[in-house]
């Protein structure tokens, strides 16, 4: 029996084994009883009936012989009918016996009886014919009956007697066998009962020994535990006081934690609102940036157009410069001609004076044209410088616009990322808000629970003293239990 088994399982096993043996014993008793009853029934229903039928055969044969004698003596037809009736009764009884006889010897005897009855019936019919002659001879009939019918009848009666004796013997044997079966059944039941009692006693002893040992061990452990429990209860009493003090401090801390959680929840709510507003602002900024990006793209196209126009203007100013060079050359040549005309006019004396005036005017005009061409040249140079500066500035502007376009794209991308991050931040802030609210609720519950624990701790302090008393009582109880189970161990524990 395993040591880990519980008492209930062990008791259940013992009960189950005892019950199994009881069932086996009951089955054996029932079997033996059935065998005895079957033997008796067989004796009563078969052998007794066969013996009765054998008696019926004997009676039918006797009545038939009586009817034959009556007919032979009187010739009355009534005896003849009786003879036929008795013979039929004889045959029915014989047929019944053939159905209920199972032994070989019985069957042989019945066959012999049937054969002798046939031969005897033939002789009877011959005797009846002798009697039915017009002048029957008594002597002849007596002779026939004495020498032929009577021996045959004696032989038939002997066979029926043998059959009756055989069936009587079978009846006696069956009765004896039934008595022997009943005796064996009684013996088996007695043996099984003794065995069951012995086994039950064995199980009870084993169970008692096992339970005593285990309960004794448990009692010993209970005694040790009671001592430890006393020590522990003492320590718990001290610890319970300290625990009550600590729980008071924890309650104060939880109150502060609760206030902090509420502040965090409020802050998270504000963060969520601000984050949502920032998200809206970022979305608006994103729209503005996209619009600005389109504007900058338009500016870039305009700047490219301006650059082309300025380059065209530079080329045109170069052409103007070429024309101015032509004018300057012509002016210089005109001036030379005017100076030469002045010289020639001076050489012509008084006659060339008027020509000298015209030449002088032409020279002055050439001087003025030269001055104007210088102004034009200066202006053209200024225009070209301005065009170059403008082209460079516009190229710088184009680069700046390109850089601005790239930066706009980066800013747009950054704003999109900011939107995504703000969405994430908003969700996170909401989750923080919800979590903090849940935390606040939980902290409130914890506060209530800690208050309850503090109350329980105070109660536990009281209970610990009571537990100390109970442990002492338990130690006394375990000693008493040990005495009940193992009195011989009284002095040891």
């Amino acid at each position: 029996m395993g040591r880990s088994w519980t008492f209930g399982r062990k008791l259940a096993l013992a009960f189950a084994l005892t019950a199994a043996f009881s069932i086996v014993m009951a089955a054996i008793a029932l079997y033996a009883l059935n065998r005895a009853v079957a033997s008796k029934d067989h004796v009563i229903s078969v052998n007794s009936q066969n013996l009765t039928d054998a008696a019926k055969l004997q009676a039918a044969a006797a009545r038939k012989a009586s009817a034959v004698r009556g007919y032979l003596l009187s010739g009355d037809e009534q005896f003849l009918a009786m003879e036929t009736t008795e013979h039929q009764e004889f045959l029915r009884t014989l047929a019944t016996l053939k159905e209920h006889v199972f032994t070989d010897k019985g069957k042989t005897l019945l066959a012999q009886i049937e054969r002798l009855d046939n031969e005897h019936q033939k002789l009877i019919e011959r005797a009846n014919k002798l009697r039915q002659e017009p002048s029957p001879s008594v002597e002849k009939m007596t002779q026939f009956m004495t020498h032929q019918a009577m021996p045959m009848r004696h032989e038939l009666d002997g066979s029926i007697d043998d059959f009756a004796s055989w069936e009587q013997k079978l009846l006696d044997d069956g009765r004896n066998e039934a008595s022997a079966a009943a005796s064996r059944a009684s013996t088996s039941i007695i043996v099984m009962t003794v065995l069951v009692i012995a086994f039950a006693s064995l199980i009870a002893a084993s169970l008692s020994k096992t339970l005593s040992r285990q309960i004794g061990s448990a009692v010993h452990e209970v005694q040790s535990s009671s001592a430890e429990l006393q020590t522990t209860a003492t320590q718990q009493a001290t610890g319970a006081k300290e625990q009550a003090t600590a729980l008071s401090e924890i309650t104060t801390t939880i109150s502060e934690l609760l206030a902090t959680s509420r502040q965090i929840a409020e802050s998270a709510k504000r963060v969520s609102q601000i984050s949502a507003e920032t998200g809206n602002a970022a979305a608006a900024g994103d729209k503005v940036m996209r619009s600005a990006h389109e504007s900058v793209f338009g500016i870039k196209k305009q700047v490219d157009l301006i650059v082309n126009h300025m380059l065209d203007l530079g080329r045109k100013s170069q052409q103007i410069g070429g024309i101015v060079d032509i004018i300057n050359e012509l002016t210089e040549q005109t001036n030379i001609l005017a100076i030469n005309a002045t010289i020639e006019a001076a050489g012509a004396g008084e006659n060339g004076r008027r020509f000298a005036v015209v030449a002088d005017e032409i020279r002055k005009l050439a001087d003025r044209v030269g001055g104007s061409t210088k102004d034009i040249r200066t202006l053209i140079d200024e225009i070209r410088a301005a065009v170059n500066s403008t082209v460079m500035a516009t190229e710088g502007g184009t680069k700046a616009v390109d850089a601005g376009t790239r930066e706009f794209s980066e800013v747009t991308s950054a704003l999109e990322q900011i939107n995504v991050l703000l969405s994430t931040t908003t969700d996170a802030a909401r989750e923080i808000e919800l979590s903090t609210k849940q935390q606040t609720t939980a902290v409130e519950q914890v506060k209530v629970a800690v208050s309850n624990v503090a109350q329980v701790s105070k109660e536990a302090e009281v209970s610990t003293v009571q537990a100390l008393k109970t442990a002492s009582q338990l130690a006394d109880l375990s000693r008493n239990l040990s005495l009940l189970i193992q009195p011989q161990l009284n002095g040891t524990h």
């Binding site: 100076i339 010289i343 000298a356």
Partner: protein
């Protein structure tokens, strides 16, 4: 209208007025006596020559062909209006350090029946100097053929005595 456009319009009006006034001005005889001069640059010196001393002015566009000569100031000869003309370096004749630029202008002088050309760096323009504003130089300057000085705005220009200079060239040619 912008200031620049105003300035241009003013200048146009001024030129028109000057041009119109030239037809309204009286004959030379009634006007004051002026000296016609040519403002030139020789090396780094700003000088002037009288128009009455020269016979013409032209650009040195033709080839100046160097020729062997005892006169070191002779640059060569060139053709002007079908006449072979000797070309002299005016800066060298005046002992002035020549300028960096090439001489573009030729001043033609009549020497008796022949013509000579004086190469100068730059002809700056025409000057009309009242005769009484001509300033006579001292004896030291006379050695350099600069006998008079004229004021051209802020600039003082020495007036080259081309007659003396041509005489010097002729004298060098004889020796």
């Amino acid at each position: 209208m912008s200031p620049a456009e105003n300035r241009l319009q003013t200048k146009v009006a001024e030129y028109k007025k000057v041009f119109d006034d030239s037809f309204a001005a009286p004959e030379q005889s009634e006007r004051m006596v002026v000296e016609q001069m040519l403002a030139i640059t020789v090396g780094s010196d700003r000088l002037a020559v009288a128009l009455r001393d020269i016979s013409g002015l032209t650009l040195a566009k033709g080839t100046i062909l160097p020729v062997p000569s005892r006169v070191p100031e002779l640059l060569g000869i060139t053709g002007i209006r079908g006449v072979v003309v000797p070309v002299f370096n005016l800066a060298a004749l005046l002992n002035i350090e020549p300028g960096a630029s090439q001489c573009r202008w030729l001043i033609l002088c009549r020497e008796r029946k022949a013509t000579i050309a004086l190469a100068v760096d730059l002809v700056e323009g025409h000057l009309e100097i009242p005769a009484d504003e001509l300033i006579a130089n001292g004896p030291a300057a006379t050695a350099n053929y600069i006998k008079q000085t004229v004021r051209d705005g802020e600039i003082l220009r020495g007036v080259i005595d081309l007659g003396s200079l041509v005489e010097k060239i002729r004298a060098k040619g004889r020796t």
